[in-house]
Symmetry: C2
Subunit: 102 residues, 2 copies
C-alpha cells in the first residue's frame, strides 16, 4: 500500500512542487507518477497530494497535512526498524564471507 | 544477500531434514532450492547448510551452527523492526480509507 517508491515520490513532490518534476527526478513517466498519486489519494481517507492545474503559476502540486504526516510516519518506521535491528544485521554482516560495505 | 525467501528455506530444511522436501514445501523446484543453498553457503564465511548425499538414510540436509545463528539473527531483525515501527505502522494503517486487516 505504501512503500519506498511512494515515499520518495512524495518527497520529490514536496521538494519540486510538481508531480511532473517529481516524476522526472525519479526517472519515472508523468503517467506513472500521476497513477501513483491517484492510488495514494484513493487509498487514504484524506488525499496525500493536492494538485492544481493551470493558473497564474502554471499549476503545481503539494503535500497535504495528511501527506506530510504519512511521510513522516513512514520515515520513522524505516529509521526505527534500522535502529532496532542493527545489532542483528551487524551480526549477519560479520558472518558474510566478504563484506562489501553495502 | 539474505531475506525472507532464504530464511524460510532454512526453516524448511531444518524442519524437513532435506533440501528436496524443503523445496517442495515451498513449491520451489529442487534446482532452485539447491541454487539458493549454494548461494548462501558461498556468501557466508561458514556454510549455513550441510548436505549428505546417499548413505543408509538416503541422504539429507541440516543447518550448521552458523545456519542456525544466521536464521535466529534474521528473525530477530524482523521482530525488532516490527516492534519498533509498530506505532508508526498503526498510524499509517489508521489513515487508510479502508483497513483490510492485511
Amino acid at each position: 500500500m505504501f512503500g519506498p517508491g511512494k515515499a520518495t515520490l512524495l518527497e520529490a513532490i514536496r521538494d519540486t512542487g510538481s508531480i511532473a518534476r517529481a516524476g522526472r527526478r525519479m526517472a519515472m513517466s508523468y503517467k506513472r507518477a500521476w497513477t501513483l498519486v491517484e492510488d495514494m489519494n484513493a487509498a487514504f481517507a484524506e488525499p496525500l497530494v493536492l494538485s492544481v492545474r493551470g493558473g497564474a503559476k502554471g499549476g503545481g502540486a503539494e503535500l497535504t497535512l495528511a501527506g506530510t504526516a504519512i511521510l513522516a510516519h513512514y520515515r520513522a518506521v524505516v529509521a526505527a526498524a534500522a535502529f532496532a535491528g542493527k545489532a542483528h544485521l551487524d551480526a549477519i554482516e560479520a558472518a558474510l564471507a566478504q563484506s562489501d560495505g553495502e
